[in-house]
């Protein structure tokens, strides 16, 4: 079915393609959560696509709307001058009289402008005409139908308490989205949830929304990510560490997520960097490092200590380092950023160094952690990347992961460790799990030389 794009970042994604033309969408939520802004953005985006819009407001002064919109870079006054927009401050009874009557002023105005999108802000005011549900429902129904018959797509806002039973409005509209406040980590943020859509699918659940300088952006909590024409990588991506590659039969299958765990100082960052470096230099692939724990400087210094000039690769466009201070990281935004980076660069190998700081703001909420790791993995899988998710464990324990959730979610687990033998400390690597790939089990010795990691495996155990 043909759908029209709302043009609002992320909204068309969660609406699985947008709205059906000549349908009605209800935006409900408590005061101040962005209902009007979302509605205005829908109108503005229509105007930008050449579709004239009409805003009918029962409570907001047009003056205030101009100012608010201007903050997002939308010059509503200019749009009005160009006859692409009309903002009408009025009352429900006027709308009733002049929209439903064929010679009504608003009726004529709509015809004259060729309006394609209408925002009614807000329908809560219709109770001024009557408090009775039956007539109210009938009134709303006829209003929406009158607009639909003119091939107009309508959005209506509705003031709503935090917990309210579904009301009659919900039966007369085609789709409903709910805006609300949510405690997300430490801070209170706004969320959006599609309650229903008629005639097309949507992504259920609450999605995080943010007010950016260009309007509202929705960060879809997306579990199924579709990437058109994912990069056709080789059958497997070698790490370039010969012993490790032998352990797994030559390399890692594209789209495999690997939990890289081990105590501090066991070489996790080095292993991931070396794999990325080798993949770029030896196989001409691209790589991205999503850094949240350490500083970019220290990681680049570590790499150059092994003779890996990541800066040079970055200049050549093969490597990208995306750094965020984890205390300020917004995970939903970051996940969207990751998706965009992957779409742009199409890397074969990515590394998340490290996972716990990236998930820091989830406050150990295990449900959310599971969800986010799942989401990350799906993202990397959709882009066919070999991904290393680095997790630090405690020395001398059998702990594999930080949260106890990651091991089940990742396709593979590689554990780095070190143990004391007499007066020397020996490093080891173990491919603990690797889905759909033959691999050597048990610990294998390794060390870290001036040139990086060497894995002391000479057999052919991983051969398919």
């Amino acid at each position: 079915m043909h759908q029209i794009l709302t043009g609002i970042n992320g909204l068309d994604v969660i609406l699985c393609g947008g709205l059906i033309p000549a349908s009605a969408m209800l935006i409900e939520g408590p005061p101040g959560c962005g209902k009007t802004t979302l509605g205005v953005q829908f109108i503005v985006n229509g105007i930008q696509q050449g579709e004239p819009g009409l805003v009918i407001t029962f409570e907001q002064f047009a003056d205030q709307l101009y100012k608010d919109a201007y903050n997002y870079g939308w010059d509503l006054k200019d749009m009005e001058r160009k006859k692409m927009l009309r903002i009408i401050c009025t009352s429900p009874s006027t709308i009733k009289d002049h929209l439903l009557q064929s010679e009504g002023i608003i009726h004529n105005l709509i015809n004259r402008m060729g309006v394609k999108r209408v925002l009614i802000d807000s329908i809560s005011h219709f109770s001024r005409i009557t408090e009775k549900e039956g007539p109210l429902r009938e009134l709303l129904f006829s209003l929406i139908n009158a607009l639909k018959q003119k091939n107009i797509t309508v959005t209506l806002t509705k003031e709503m308490g935090l917990k309210e039973e579904p009301s009659f409005e919900e039966y007369v509209v085609d789709s409903i989205i709910n805006l609300s406040y949510e405690h997300f980590g430490e801070s209170r943020t706004r969320t959006i949830e599609v309650i229903k859509t008629r005639g097309h699918d949507h992504i259920s659940g609450k999605h995080y929304i943010k007010f950016n300088t260009d309007g509202i952006t929705i960060y879809p909590r997306q579990f199924i990510i579709e990437v058109d024409n994912p990069t056709p990588f080789a059958d497997y991506i070698p790490s370039g560490i010969s012993g490790l590659d032998r352990m797994v039969g030559g390399g890692i299958t594209p789209g495999t997520s690997i939990l890289l765990s081990g105590p501090a100082g066991t070489g996790k960052t080095t292993l991931a960097m070396q794999s990325m470096y080798n993949s770029m230099v030896k196989n001409g692939n691209k790589a991205v490092l999503f850094l949240t724990g350490e500083s970019p400087d220290s990681v680049l210094r570590l790499a150059s200590g092994y003779g890996w000039d990541m800066q040079d690769l970055q200049d050549k466009g093969l490597f990208k380092l995306v750094y965020h201070d984890f205390t300020k990281l917004n995970l939903e935004e970051h996940i969207r950023e990751i998706d965009l980076v992957l779409r742009e660069l199409k890397p074969a190998v990515v590394s998340v160094d490290s996972l716990p700081p990236m998930l820091h703001n989830l406050n150990d909420n295990s449900k959310l952690i599971t969800e986010k790791i799942y989401q990350l993995n799906n993202l990397f899988k959709a882009h066919r990347c070999v991904s290393f998710l680095i997790v630090r464990t405690l020395l001398g324990t059998d702990q594999i992961s930080s949260y106890g959730e990651e091991e089940a979610l990742c396709d593979g687990i590689v554990i780095l460790n070190s143990k004391k033998y007499g007066h020397t400390r020996r490093r080891s690597i173990e491919v603990y799990k690797l889905r759909n790939q033959k691999h050597v089990t048990g610990e294998c010795g390794m060390d870290i030389t001036d040139n990086g990691i060497r894995v002391f495996y000479v057999g052919k155990g991983g051969k398919k």
């Binding site: 012993g243 020996r426 294998c444 894995v455 002391f456 495996y457």
Partner: protein
């Protein structure tokens, strides 16, 4: 079927009935001063002169000393080293720059890995000499050593590769030595026989050769600069 490539080593001609193929492991045992290193040098030079490559793992002494030893025996090796035909590996105290090394000889996995990597890199045929296993053995119990050697030989036994391991006799338990011999295709002893008066004469005796006949009797030999061991093969026919 392709003709099996054989290890050319004149020293054993006449004592061993048929030529020995590659993909074999050799054990050379001997007391101190019996000429093990000279035997190894000769084995090295034999390969190099035939255009084969050689990996020489120095465990008892730094590589720079070893180079001098080659020279003092009249063997010139610099051109082979420059050409990359001869590769020294060190497993002895601090690492000399430019020389491959094994950091921790007591780490079986590293030990085998470093050699395997080098073997992969070198042209075939290739002779691999470990001088000596005794230095490595001090890190292990006899039982672990036997297991380690078996593991090493299993993993490194490759087409076009012959391995020669030197052992200082008398440092390992006899029972252990027996277990070790099982890991080798060729076992050769160098020793001084019990003195019967006069100048002590060094002897070489082939102990074991898998799948070919050999003369098990001891043969006296002398050491000559530029040649190495010179075995008196006519000793019994005189």
């Amino acid at each position: 079927m392709q003709e099996l490539e054989v290890v050319r080593f004149g020293l054993l001609d006449g004592i061993v009935k048929n030529s020995l193929p590659y993909r074999t492991t050799w054990q050379l045992r001997g007391e101190s001063g019996t000429g093990k290193s000279t035997f190894a040098f000769q084995f090295t030079m034999g390969g190099l002169r035939r255009g084969e490559s050689v990996i020489y793992l120095a465990c008892d002494t730094p590589v720079r000393n070893l180079r001098n030893d080659f020279t003092s025996f009249g063997f010139v090796i610099s051109q082979y080293e420059e050409a990359g035909q001869l590769k020294f590996v060190e497993s002895y105290e601090s690492e000399e720059s430019g020389v491959d090394f094994i950091k921790d000889a007591s780490d079986v996995q590293e030990f085998i890995y470093v050699l395997a990597q080098l073997i992969d890199q070198m042209a075939k045929p290739c002779r691999v000499i470990i001088d000596s296993m005794t230095a490595v053995a001090v890190n292990y119990s006899t039982q672990d050593l036997v297991a380690m050697v078996h593991e090493k030989n299993r993993l490194l036994r490759k087409e076009g590769v012959v391995m020669l391991d030197l052992y200082l006799k008398g440092t390992l338990e006899e029972t252990g030595m027996y277990g070790l011999a099982n890991a080798y295709d060729v076992c050769i002893d160098l020793y001084y026989p019990e003195e019967k008066g006069g100048v002590p004469q060094r002897n070489m005796r082939v102990h074991k050769i898998r799948s070919t006949d050999f003369d098990p009797r001891p043969f006296p030999f002398s050491i000559r600069t530029g040649q190495g061991l010179v075995v008196d093969k006519k000793f019994y026919s005189r």
